[in-house]
Structure formats: structure tokens, C-alpha cells
């Protein structure tokens, strides 16, 4: 009896406190919603425009279409040389290869830098970090000549093979930092149990590096999916075009751009990135937090 009264009393007080704070909280939320909306506006505008007939996209700048044109999606899907799923498949092949390649190769390289001692380790580490600072424009022509001599232009190899050779210094650095934070005692006890380097890497380091691996996977996915320039340069055959290349085919800076279908396909192209990010977001945050502090 007394306890129920007490509980009720507490509940009432809480409500009163909440009521007193209500205007403040309402204001706060209204502010946040407004801010969120203004950040989201470009995305919403793209979504809205994907349902507008092309000629209305710029004539009616508001969000709600006065005329619905869901046929943009059908038209966009079929307007180019191939149906759009061909480009999605091409992008998927490249992204999948890049993710697998980066995970394996970068973690191996990172293990070496973090755990092994070898001659010139510091120098190599510095050189590796130095490659981050090279802009793509510096390396693209030598790369092109190299791949052209290998007869790899117009194949996926220039976009895939380097990933298996640990060329993404950023991810190596990320994982080196992470592995350095793992206690060496784990390695030592594994060595006493008879493990060699490869087994320590595979059984001890890899499972413990999950947050760093997830970060690598997510960033590789997003960057490769959105990469335009190297795909533009190495893939000229329309059969091999990827999603970013396909999207650019709708654009004509001097004449008519098919804005409706372009936005429709852009919405679709956002899907995988959005999904992958949502699925891996938890690990991403953990990965950044744990590698950043140390």
C-alpha cells in the first residue's frame, strides 16, 4: 500500500519534472529536426526529383512532385547500352574483389610491420606512409603504361590485382595501429604452444582485429563503389562499365541531361552503400574509436 503510493508519487514527480522541462526539450528537438532536415534536404530533393518528369526537375524546385513519373525508374534501368543490373554486377565484382584483397593483403602487411623485426623496417614503414600522400594524378599515367603493356586495359585486373598486393597504405596503417595495441603476451603464449608467425596471425591477431577489419571492409566498399576516376580510365568497353560510369552517361553538360532517370538510378546506386553502412556501422564506430585512441 505504502509502496504503491510511493511509486505513484515518484511517477507524478517525474511527470512534473518532465512537464517543466518540456518547452526546453521541445525546442531542442525542433532545432535538431530542422537541422537534420536541412542536412538531408539534398538527398530528399534527389529522391523527389527521381519521381519528376525531367523537364519539371528545374522548373518546379519544390519537394513534392506535381506530376508523378515513376517511369523514370524503368527508363533509367533500360536507357543505356545495357540494362542497369549489368553495371551493378560489374561494380559488385570489383567491390567484392577489392574488399577481399584489402582484408587479406593489408592485414598481412600490417602484421609484419607491427610484430616482426626486419632490416629497414622503419624506412619501409615511412615509404609506405609516403604513398598515401601521392595524388592519383601523379601515378595514373605510369600505371596506365604498365597495365597497357600487360594488356590489362579494359579488364578488371588493374582494379583488382593491386588490392591483393597491399597497396592501400591507409588500411595498413590503421591495422598496424590496432595490432600494436593488442597485448604481446598473447603472441608469446601462442609461441610457447608451438605456433609459428602464420598461425599467430591467423588464429590470434585476425580474430582480435575484427573492428579494424570491419572498418577496412566498410571503407573499401564505399570508396570502391564510389570510385570514378580509375574506373573511367581503365574501363572503356561499355560491357565492363560500372555504376559510377553508367550514371555519368546520363549527363550532357552541353545539351539535354536526362535528369529524371539519372536521379532514379542514383537512388538505386545509393542502396548498397547505405545497406552496407547500416549493417557495419557498429563495428565501424568501434574500429575508429579503438584504433584512434592508441
Amino acid at each position: 500500500m505504502a509502496t504503491t503510493e510511493l511509486v505513484q508519487e515518484i511517477a507524478v514527480r517525474r511527470k512534473q519534472a518532465a512537464r517543466r522541462n518540456r518547452p526546453k526539450r521541445l525546442l531542442l528537438h525542433a532545432g535538431l529536426i530542422l537541422f537534420g532536415f536541412s542536412m538531408l534536404y539534398p538527398l530528399l530533393w534527389m529522391l523527389a526529383s527521381s519521381f519528376k518528369p525531367t523537364e519539371l526537375v528545374f522548373r518546379e524546385p519544390g519537394l513534392w512532385p506535381s506530376e508523378f513519373a515513376p517511369e523514370n525508374y524503368i527508363e533509367g534501368w533500360t536507357a543505356l547500352t545495357h540494362p542497369f543490373h549489368v553495371y551493378i554486377i560489374n561494380s559488385t565484382i570489383i567491390v567484392a574483389g577489392a574488399v577481399v584483397g584489402n582484408l587479406l593483403a593489408c592485414s598481412l602487411a600490417a602484421y609484419a610491420f607491427a610484430r616482426l623485426t626486419f632490416i629497414g623496417k622503419r624506412t619501409f614503414f615511412a615509404i609506405m606512409l609516403g604513398t598515401i600522400m601521392l595524388p592519383i594524378h601523379v601515378v595514373i599515367v605510369p600505371q596506365y603504361i604498365l597495365f597497357s603493356n600487360l594488356d590489362w586495359i579494359n579488364t578488371f585486373y588493374p582494379l583488382l590485382v593491386p588490392k591483393f598486393l597491399a597497396v592501400d597504405a591507409f588500411f595498413i596503417f590503421l591495422m598496424v595501429q590496432f595490432i600494436r595495441g593488442l597485448p604481446r603476451e598473447l603472441d608469446d603464449s601462442a609461441r610457447i604452444d608451438g605456433c609459428g608467425h602464420f598461425r599467430i596471425y591467423w588464429r590470434i591477431i585476425m580474430p582480435l582485429s575484427l573492428p579494424a577489419l570491419a572498418t577496412t571492409a566498410i571503407f573499401t566498399f564505399i570508396w570502391t563503389w564510389n570510385d570514378f576516376f580509375s574506373q573511367l580510365v581503365f574501363l572503356t568497353d561499355p560491357d565492363l562499365a560500372t555504376v559510377p560510369l553508367a550514371l555519368r552517361q546520363f549527363v550532357d553538360s552541353q545539351g539535354e541531361t536526362s535528369w529524371g532517370p539519372l536521379f532514379a538510378m542514383s537512388v538505386i546506386a545509393l542502396g548498397p552503400v547505405f545497406g552496407f553502412f547500416l549493417a557495419g556501422q557498429r563495428y565501424l564506430v568501434r574500429g575508429i574509436a579503438t584504433t584512434g585512441i592508441k
Binding site: 547500352t81 545495357h82 596506365y144 594488356d151 579488364t155 583488382l160 552517361q249 549527363v251 539535354e256
Partner: protein
């Protein structure tokens, strides 16, 4: 014990996964020649794609053709390629296309990597650069029939007597106006054979005060408009030797007129004007203004399509006798000096220029055809807005001046310089004459290299 026995298979598995993936990939593609992994698998006979043996005779050769544009042009061009391959068995044409902005990045990289497309589309501001670096072949020395090409358009591709490029078609730069807006404002359309810039300012003012429309969309940043203005005074943007052919006062006067229009309150504010980009967002396309200073004639379709109205082309306003208007080659076809199959490339360019079948698919997509016979041939097949362009070009034909010489090396930088200084003028950070003098300094530096 058990741990040790499990160790070997695991190590092997990991090794296979980790290292061999890359090694295998390397090995797998080292031996094979051209076949891409995800090929749709449609061309069975391209065995000697890269092993070309010089002669384009009986056995098959493959050439690459690059162009820029949007999806409709890509589709049309691939139809044209199919028609060419049917008429020329033994030659396969690989398409290589992207949009305008990325086109030059890709072309520059491929050219630097000694893998330029055999036949490429060029544009006047870049053509000189490629030609002077020895990347283009002289078409006169190849088997390309140029006899029917409009002589007014042919000169644009000549440098020092060599025909490095041939015009695909021609456009003119000219005011586009909305007759509906004139009617709504109760203002009569001007007589464009005699109108001056004073008339334009008066019309602009009249329309803006009689209706909700803006009078005119001004643009002082496009060098093509200034080119006409300078030619009306007997000057040129560039002399044949590549130097600048005008004085600062001419450019200052040109900018002053545009500035007067903005200050007469019959245009949107300067900041709004600078937001306009491309025909889709132009004020006549969005039904917000009665006139524009100028667009290219091949943009009429895009403008009137977005406007949902019939728009009209007028002559460029002027002061003197000479109208100064000229035909600009819309694009060029060029053949790379890196090609291993010049004969096949020449046959393809010849087909693009002279074959009615190609023209019937292309119509005016690459400008009004430069081949006069072909132009006659396709006239009846054109959609309404393009008939309008063709009629307009025929009407102004007798008044057209000689084509300006090809722009010098470095001309690709001029639009940026002009846009930047025009912004200084329109936002009144510099007087027109100050900006014009700086333009001359910067443009000379850009084109002297």
C-alpha cells in the same frame, strides 16, 4: 599433438587464401590476351585485336572510336557503328564513350599511355594542343573525301595547311527568345536584322515593367559572344598566328553593355544570374525571361523541351554592317597518329562524314551536318526544333563572315579566365576596363606557351 596435426592443413588453407589469390590472378591473366573476365561475349572474331599487321585489307582489324555525350548520343552512335561494320566487313569498331567532363581526362591519360583511340572526337579548344604535339594525322594524306564539306567549316580544322580535324557539323551562337513572353508583355518582337544593343536595353526594360518576366538573361562569361562582338568591330578574339586580336576597350564595352542591362533592373540580381548553368536551368527554359544573350543553336531542343514552348532564334544584335556571326564546328573527327590501322580509321571517318545511312541516324546531334549534300538529304527528316535551326542557318547564311581561325594552344583556359573576370565586373569589384586589361594579360600568358 592434435594441435600440431591440425596446423599443417590450416597453414596451407591460409596460404592459399592469402597469397595464392594474388599469384593465381597474376598467372591467370598473364597468358590470356584480350578477353575481359565479364565480357558479354558477343564479338567472336576479334582475334588479332592488338596484333595488327599494318594492312587493313582482307582479315579483320579493330579500331577504337571515342566520343563524349549523353545516353541518346551513345545509343545513336552505336547504331552508326553497326551500320559501318555491316558495310565494311573485316573492320570492327570498339566504342569508347563518356560524358564531356571525364572525356578529356580519359583521352589525355590514354594518349600519354600510348593507347589513344584510333578515331577520336575533338573540340576546337583542345584540337590545336593535340595537333601541335603530333598526336593527330593529316586527313589530306588519308583516303577521306572532304569535297562536299562546307568550306566555311573546313578551315576550323586546319593548322599550317594540314587538315588535322574535320568538322562533324556546325552551330551558331545566337540569342534565343520566348515569343510567348513578348506576347504576354504586349511587346512586339524586334526586327533582328537591324537591332542594336540600345534596342535590347529598351526591350528589356519594357518587358520587365509590363509583365512578371525578366527582360533578358545576360552572360558576359562566354567568349563566343565576345568573339561576335569583336568581329563586328573588325577585330578578332585570336589572330591567325594565335595572338589576341582585340583591344581592351572592345572587351570593356562588351562587358559594359551586359552590366548596363543588369543595372537597368530588368534582369535577376547578379548573384542569381551566376547560378545559371547549362540550358536546363536557363531563364527562358524555366519561363522566367523573354530573352537570352545567346545559346548555341544545337541547344534549342533542350531549351524549348524544358520550356514546354516554341522558342525562337534571332540574329546577334550589333552596331556595324557586319553581323560578325560565324559557324562554329560543333565537334571534330580526328585520327590518332598512334593508330596501327590508318586506312580503317580513314574509312570510318569517311563513313561518318559522307554516308547517308550514318547521317540518317545522327541527324543534327553533332551539329547541322558540315557535308552540304548530306545536309540537304536529311532536312526533311528533322524534328520541328531542328528544322527551325536549319531554316535559321539557311536564312543567315549569306550574312555570315569567314570562320575565325582555330584557337591557339592554351585556349582551353580562356573560359575560366573570362568567367572569373566577368564575376569581378558583375559584382562591381572591378571596372570593365580594369578587368579587360587584366584579361589581356592573363590570356596572353595562357596562350603564349
Amino acid at each position: 599433438m592434435s594441435a600440431r596435426t591440425r596446423a599443417r592443413p590450416l597453414r596451407w588453407k591460409a596460404l592459399t587464401a592469402g597469397l595464392s589469390a594474388s599469384v593465381l590472378l597474376l598467372a591467370a591473366c598473364g597468358g590470356d590476351d584480350e578477353d575481359p573476365p565479364a565480357d558479354a561475349g558477343d564479338d567472336p572474331a576479334d582475334e588479332d585485336a592488338d596484333e595488327g599487321d599494318g594492312d587493313s585489307g582482307d582479315d579483320g582489324v579493330t579500331i577504337r572510336f571515342s566520343w563524349w555525350g549523353s545516353d541518346s548520343r551513345h545509343e545513336q552512335t552505336q547504331e552508326i557503328i553497326a551500320a559501318f561494320e555491316e558495310a565494311n566487313p573485316g573492320i570492327t569498331v570498339e566504342p569508347d564513350f563518356t560524358d564531356w567532363g571525364s572525356y578529356w581526362d580519359r583521352l589525355a591519360t590514354a594518349t600519354a599511355g600510348s593507347d589513344a583511340p584510333d578515331v577520336m572526337t575533338q573540340e576546337e579548344r583542345y584540337m590545336t594542343d593535340y595537333a601541335l604535339r603530333g598526336q593527330l594525322l593529316d586527313l589530306n594524306e588519308l583516303d577521306v573525301d572532304l569535297s562536299n564539306i562546307d568550306p566555311l567549316a573546313l578551315g576550323g580544322g586546319q593548322i599550317d595547311g594540314a587538315q588535322y580535324a574535320v568538322a562533324t557539323g556546325v552551330n551558331a551562337f545566337t540569342p534565343v527568345v520566348d515569343p510567348q513572353a513578348f506576347e504576354d508583355a504586349g511587346v512586339d518582337m524586334p526586327d533582328d536584322t537591324a537591332w542594336t544593343w540600345d534596342d535590347v536595353i529598351a526591350l528589356c526594360d519594357e518587358i520587365a515593367s509590363n509583365s512578371d518576366y525578366n527582360g533578358i538573361q545576360v552572360d558576359g562569361s562566354n567568349e563566343a559572344g565576345f568573339k561576335i562582338f569583336a568581329r563586328q568591330r573588325g577585330q578578332e578574339l585570336y589572330n591567325p598566328d594565335g595572338s589576341l586580336g582585340f583591344d581592351a576597350q572592345t572587351l570593356a564595352d562588351f562587358w559594359q553593355i551586359q552590366l548596363d542591362l543588369v543595372n537597368a533592373d530588368c534582369t535577376p540580381a547578379a548573384s542569381e544570374l551566376q547560378e545559371i548553368e547549362g540550358p536546363d536551368t536557363s531563364l527562358v527554359a524555366t519561363n522566367q525571361a523573354a530573352m537570352t544573350t545567346a545559346y548555341w543553336t544545337n541547344q534549342l531542343g533542350a531549351l524549348s523541351g524544358t520550356a514546354g514552348r516554341t522558342l525562337e532564334l534571332l540574329r546577334y544584335p550589333g552596331e556595324g554592317e557586319q553581323t560578325g556571326m560565324y559557324l562554329k564546328p560543333a565537334m571534330f573527327y580526328s585520327i590518332s597518329s598512334q593508330t596501327e590501322h590508318p586506312e580503317a580509321a580513314a574509312a570510318f571517318v569517311d563513313f561518318l562524314l559522307n554516308d547517308p545511312a550514318a547521317a540518317e541516324i545522327m541527324l543534327t546531334d553533332r551539329g547541322l551536318p558540315a557535308n552540304l549534300e548530306i545536309r540537304e538529304h536529311i532536312l526533311p527528316m528533322l524534328p520541328e526544333d531542328q528544322t527551325q535551326v536549319a531554316d535559321f542557318m539557311a536564312e543567315i547564311g549569306p550574312d555570315l563572315a569567314d570562320p575565325p581561325p582555330p584557337p591557339p594552344n592554351g585556349a582551353g583556359e580562356i573560359p575560366d579566365i573570362m568567367t572569373r573576370l566577368w564575376e569581378e565586373v558583375i559584382f562591381e569589384q572591378m571596372t570593365p576596363i580594369e578587368a579587360a586589361e587584366q584579361f589581356i594579360t592573363e590570356a596572353e600568358a595562357a596562350t603564349s606557351g
